[in-house]
Chain length 424, copies 2
């Protein structure tokens, strides 16, 4: 049996996880997949990461050029993260005809359209199952299942950090700052948590998932993005009372040539399958015109699940021939595609008012004038002669709602609009 | 663009669903997959099914031999159901080098090991995503994802009829007979419901799923099977009080060369993702050594979802080359595999007793002597001086529990053991 030699660039958590699986399950993969896979090189700044993991330092390789020049290496795993030098290194490997398996969602979201043609030109493949939702094969499913279906909508809980924070707020009743510092203490959130809590990470992944689902480039920069730092303990309490959980959703919809793509906190009804996806778990829920509603659920990150996705791609790449996505518009939205900003949704609105007669009626009138109809309304006393008015609206246009809120903010007796959260 | 010609054998619900998708989304499939797929023939007893669906009767074909002899037909969809003549027809098509896409779980569970070698010998493929869990790509996932993982366990709610019945009993508090006749009225259950309610259908599917997951043949006949007709309204009520739902689970586990494979009703804790899979929905939950816990969820049956899975296989078959499973032991359990009958589980046990002092203690003693330890016990008055004793046990061996119950049945003051249901 011919040994199939590969290399790993970047021996951090995920790269280490992939190495572990390839080493410990090597015989199992040989037996079940007929592939004898050997890691020939590990590229990193120095040998320290190898020593720390008890990996023979003889595998260490200092130079991407040397790696690219070795004809024995068929495939390279990229687990360095970030845009550079990962992008330059991946380009080198693809240009040398080596397939690349990557977990790098930021790089993919930003440069997929540049890397894919290099792979195509050199007859090798670019694989990225590990870039979204850990080991859950959602990239595979979008690319190679329900090919006869037009995917109409995709709803994802695809960032573990924010889901951990929102789940903790929901369970413990604590506020955002407390839940964030708990997540940081446990290693679920970075010291600078912006990439997660501001929705960048989810937007990277939505760009990849929606591009595959809708067979057209949905550029990262075209995605509406709103993070979770504005979600208050009071919003979560109100959500519970109304029968909802609050989740950071990544939403993609396609109707003909109209596409919506947005990441924002959303009310999810308790009887929806997505509402029970809690903690660091992730899920992708999608609707096809024939297949109906599907959900894929599992661990969203971590060395083992992400490593599992990488190894799956390695097996796929070594066992078959690559397929390519077309990026005929250089990574921009197709000219025929209309990115819809004025989408339709239900809304949760929390308004602080002076507790005087007629306020609720005046607010309702403004909503009515803008065609925003009310599904439920409650008014509860606040501090010092104020009251909190909470509305749940029927489905209404985003722009109509925002226009209403602008007018409402100017009404006499209205103190301020405290929260606006969309409802799934 | 070359037209790729295919045929459909059996124009029932599922065959009709596949025809609809191939026709209505033909341009979409051409655009996104680069395949122009045309249905050249439909094989059925007469033209009536074609006329009913408004399909040109010129597509009608009366003979499997004529179909097999047409070199233009690359692939045949089999949606006849049942073992014969489907098996003979599929063999003819494979022998003529035509790939076959089937939704026939009964045939696959019984004859996969005979059909796969014919496909291999003639360089064509046998595809069966549609055999399990409608359009949810669980066959694809088991065959082509987490290849680096040893799958350790698989838990499926894979029969929509029984899940509909149990969900209705859970929601409405009605008994089994009422829920069954409701399911029959709505078309969810057959007039003769045995294949579903007695667990045959779930066992066919478990044989297919477990064989793929564990990379070894798990013969249909080796699966322990128990249906849902013994589940009472009282069991469901007790389950709710204890924080559980009752589901018909298909369970496969592998630990080294030990395999468990069983279909039976089970208590599923309310906080387990499987407990919320209700109505006609299906789900497969699995555990890999690296990927962790995953769940795939969606519509389990129906013309559109199953048709979607068929079309997905057609695209896969026409766009790539087939892979084969090895059945080196002619469809029997591998000699090295030990099928475990004495598995470990928690148990729910409902016993009717005479309401006299000391009964609970005597029962507990018997359980203790057999190493069955009690997690929770309640005693409630029954009719005419009787009482109902309900136990929830910690995890214990199946054989120990059954031995205990035999002894308990013989105790003075014990009237009978009314229910035993395993706990997930």
């Amino acid at each position: 049996m011919k040994k199939r030699k590969i290399a790993i660039m970047g021996l951090g958590t995920v790269g280490g996880g992939a190495y572990d699986i390839l080493t410990r399950n090597r015989d199992y993969i040989l037996k079940t997949q007929g592939l004898d896979i050997e890691v020939k090189y590990i590229l990193d700044r120095d040998v320290t990461p190898l020593e720390k993991r008890g990996i023979p330092v003889s595998l260490w390789c200092a130079s991407a050029d040397a790696l690219a020049a070795d004809p024995e290496v068929e495939l390279v795993i990229e687990t360095m993260g970030g845009v550079e030098p990962a992008k330059t290194f991946i380009s080198k490997m693809l240009s040398a005809g080596k397939s690349v398996v990557t977990a790098n969602k930021e790089l993919l979201a930003k440069s997929w359209h540049e890397l894919e043609p290099i792979a195509k030109a050199h007859g090798c493949g670019l694989y990225f199952e590990a870039s979204c939702v850990g080991g859950v094969p959602v990239i595979r499913a979008l690319g190679e299942s329900f090919q006869g279906d037009k995917v109409q909508a995709i709803y994802g809980i695809i960032n573990g950090t924010t889901n951990y924070i929102l789940s903790k707020m929901s369970r413990d009743g604590c506020d955002y700052a407390t839940a964030l510092s708990d997540a940081q203490r446990l290693g679920y959130a970075e010291a600078n948590p912006s990439s997660d809590v501001d929705g960048y990470d989810a937007a990277y992944k939505l760009s990849i998932l929606a591009s595959l689902a809708f067979h057209t480039c949905v550029p990262y920069g075209s995605i509406y993005r709103e993070g979770i730092s504005g979600v208050s303990a009071r919003d979560i309490e109100n959500a519970h009372e109304l029968g909802y959980e609050i989740k950071l959703l990544a939403i993609g919809k396609r109707d003909g040539n109209n596409i919506e793509a947005r990441v924002h906190p959303a009310f999810v009804a308790r009887d929806h399958a997505l509402s029970s996806v809690s903690g660091a778990f992730n899920a992708v829920y999608l609707q096809g015109d024939y297949v109906g509603n599907l959900m894929f659920y599992g661990a969203g990150a971590g060395a083992a699940p992400t490593g599992s996705a990488i190894v799956s791609d390695v097996v796929k790449a070594l066992g078959g021939s690559p397929k390519y996505c077309d990026f005929d518009n250089n990574g921009k939205l197709d000219k025929n595609i209309n990115l819809v900003g004025d989408f339709v949704s239900g809304y949760y609105i929390d308004i602080s008012v002076e507790d005087k007669p007629g306020v609720l009626s005046r607010i309702s009138t403004v909503l009515g004038e803008n065609n925003v109809s009310i599904k439920a309304a409650t008014q509860a006393p606040g501090d010092d002669g104020t009251a909190n008015v909470v509305f749940l609206t029927h489905r209404a246009g985003e722009k109509s709602v925002m226009r209403s809120l602008e007018s409402i903010g100017k009404l006499a007796s209205v103190i301020n609009v405290q929260s606006v959260i969309r409802v799934l």
